[in-house]
Amino acid sequence: MKLRDEIILTISALKIGYKAGNGEKVVLQDLNATARKGELIAIIGKNGAGKSTLLRTITGLQASLGGEICYEGKNILNHSRLELARKVGYISTETVRASNMSVYDLVALGRFPYTDWTGRINNENNSFIMDAIMKTGMMPFCSRYIAELSDGERQRAMIARILAQDTGLMVMDEPTAFLDIGSKYEILHLMNNLAKTAGKTIIFSTHDLQMAISQADKIWLITGMELMEGAPEDLMIRGDFDHIFDSSNLRYNSDQGTFTFRSDEKGSIYIKGEGILRHWTEKAVMRAGFVVSEEKTDTFIIIPSGDSINWMLVSQGSIVECRSIYELVGKLTIEE
């Protein structure tokens, strides 16, 4: 097994924000992080936490206010615009709207840093373009206009564009926002694939914590003015996710990987039974605002097993039979 130890991006003591008149509006400061080859890195933080600013600064579209960004040990400031365009590709939340632009044309623009002043696409450029189109599964859409694509298809075309740009690092600002659930997972799968098989490092921001935790190799968590990095599991064990929320009513259950509203906890309940039915019953009970107890409680639930096909809700000696989880949760709420 080959260990990934090639660090391609180092951020040290970075200060980001905007220059406003003579002063500065600092968004985040003292940021330290690294990215290795082939890693899928999710940036998580509240709206306005500075995710987009950070991504734009990494890409070189916005100047930093201090600190260093290094690509393979070389400071970003010592890169020309074209050199940088060969190292990092960028997808923002902005949609490209251009009439008569085919998917091929769009992807071909990824070769901008490699073509001469006329922008002529030679055979080498063409094979990069076609390879990118193949890898993103956009072959059937090659000659289609981008205005006619669905959101998911357009996002795939955008990914093909930065793939043709042949950069080691890909930066994506909320690549799965506004996508339906199917496209969302397709895009994520594609990103994962590019990281694992093509060795691309992908840094992307997202609001979908669940998805980030299950897919990302590393998470850059922005809370307040700080950036914490680590494997999702590391952050979870350290309880770092609790800091995402201002509200103390929200709690992250590190063992379940879910959120609950603290104020909604209505009491604890014991569930008797095993298997998949227990798993989903637990979920439903928790959604209804109860904590699943390890010890027996006054009110408890017996999961269907053997000859019994119904859920039993036992409360102070009386038993209520429920044919579905829906019915069970309904009864539970009335009981309470």
Binding site: L61, A85, S92, E94, N100, L109, M130
Partner: protein, 369 residues
């Protein structure tokens, strides 16, 4: 079929096959585009010749040919050399200048409704011209105007166009909404018209008359010196545009993406705005504000060539712009009649249907252009 045992080899050859298929389709569309180019070149030549023949005084083909090959300085030669030929060259140049400027503005503002007249660039140029005709010329002797006047006129027109361009850019960076920018452009135009009206109020009758005639738009009032200045300016604009086709293609993505693929956006903006101001400014300086060519012709090119690639759209727009303006000129002469229609009316009637078509199509694609 390749039955290679290693999967990789098969994969590469599959990729090669696909690349070849793609190349063929690319070549076939290129072939189509070449045909359209040939037809357009033929049309430009045809309309240019027609523009020489057709006019208030009807000349036969033989007359025109005779005029070209004779050394006499007769009535016929005067009409062809002094009026028809300069006017046809002017029409060609004006059409190219306005259309190219419109194409560049539509790309850089990523706005299908952008054009020199819509965003107030033409008004800005008018203000520059008004300053020269109504203001400064009072302090200038007639000789100065004859000597440097043309360049002063055109330079002040460029300056006026450039200033308005910068104001629009300043707004466009802050406000992304297309409609808001257009409305602000209209407001700017109205504001400038107001300033010009005030200037007219304080100017002498003869200068006022000169200015009002200028605003009607005309291709036929250029002296040979003025025509030289116009042709040199538009040629510069054409060369700058052709050299910046790669930049314009990148700008289709918007400035953020263009920067991320390695374009120096500030430099690109300066190049394109200089080019647009030179093109729209020079045309407006000598021929007055001519509407709808700048906004409509680039769309005609997009419809014909079905591409967003400026390597094709720029030459296409040049040829189409030239033909459309020549046709407008022929129509405005009302061949065979003594009367002449105002040029602006003709270009409006040709351009407006195209603009309406674009608006209706955009509704269908919900804002995508």
């Amino acid at each position: 079929m390749n039955f290679s045992s290693t999967g990789k080899l098969t994969e590469t050859s599959l990729l090669e096959q696909i690349i070849n298929i793609k190349k063929e389709t690319l070549l076939s569309s290129l072939k189509q585009q070449k045909t359209i180019f040939v037809i357009l070149i033929f049309l430009v030549a045809l309309f240019f010749i027609l523009d020489l023949f057709l006019g208030s005084v009807s000349l036969s083909a033989a007359d025109v040919i005779r005029a070209f090959f004779s050394d006499k300085q007769g009535h016929l030669e005067t009409i062809v050399y002094k009026f028809r030929l300069p006017k046809a060259i002017t029409a060609l140049t004006v059409g190219i200048g306005l259309s190219l400027s419109g194409l560049q503005m539509q790309t850089i503002f990523r706005n299908p409704m952008a054009g020199p007249d819509v965003l107030g660039i033409t008004s800005g140029a008018s203000l520059g011209v008004a300053f020269v005709i109504l203001g400064f010329s009072v302090n200038m002797s007639a000789d100065t105007i004859k000597g440097f006047g043309n360049w002063i006129l055109v330079a002040s027109s460029w300056a006026g166009a450039g200033v308005i361009m910068m104001i629009i850019v300043f707004i466009a960076i802050r406000i992304k909404d297309i409609m808001t920018i257009l409305i602000l452009g209209i407001m700017l135009s109205s504001g400038i018209s107001a300033i010009v009206v005030i200037m007219q109020y304080f100017s002498s009758e003869s200068l006022l008359k000169a200015y009002v005639i200028w605003t009607m738009g005309s291709l036929g009032n250029l002296t040979s010196d003025q025509l030289n200045v116009l042709v040199i300016s538009v040629l510069t604009g054409i060369i700058l545009s052709l050299a910046s086709s790669k930049i314009l293609n990148a700008l289709l993505l918007g400035e953020n993406y263009a920067g991320s693929i390695g374009l120096n956006v500030k430099f690109a903006r300066i190049i394109i705005f200089t080019c647009t101001s030179i093109l729209a400014g020079s045309v407006t300086a000598f021929c007055g504000p001519i509407g709808f060519i700048g906004i409509a012709v680039p769309h005609m090119a997009r419809i014909l060539f079905k591409t967003s690639d400026h390597k094709i759209l720029i030459p296409g727009t040049i040829l189409l712009g030239g033909s459309v303006m020549l046709v407008s000129d022929i129509i405005s002469q009302l061949p065979g009649s003594e009367k002449v229609l105002p040029l602006n009316a003709v270009t409006a009637l040709i351009g407006i249907p195209v603009v309406i078509w674009v608006i209706l199509r955009n509704r269908k694609y919900s804002g995508v252009w």
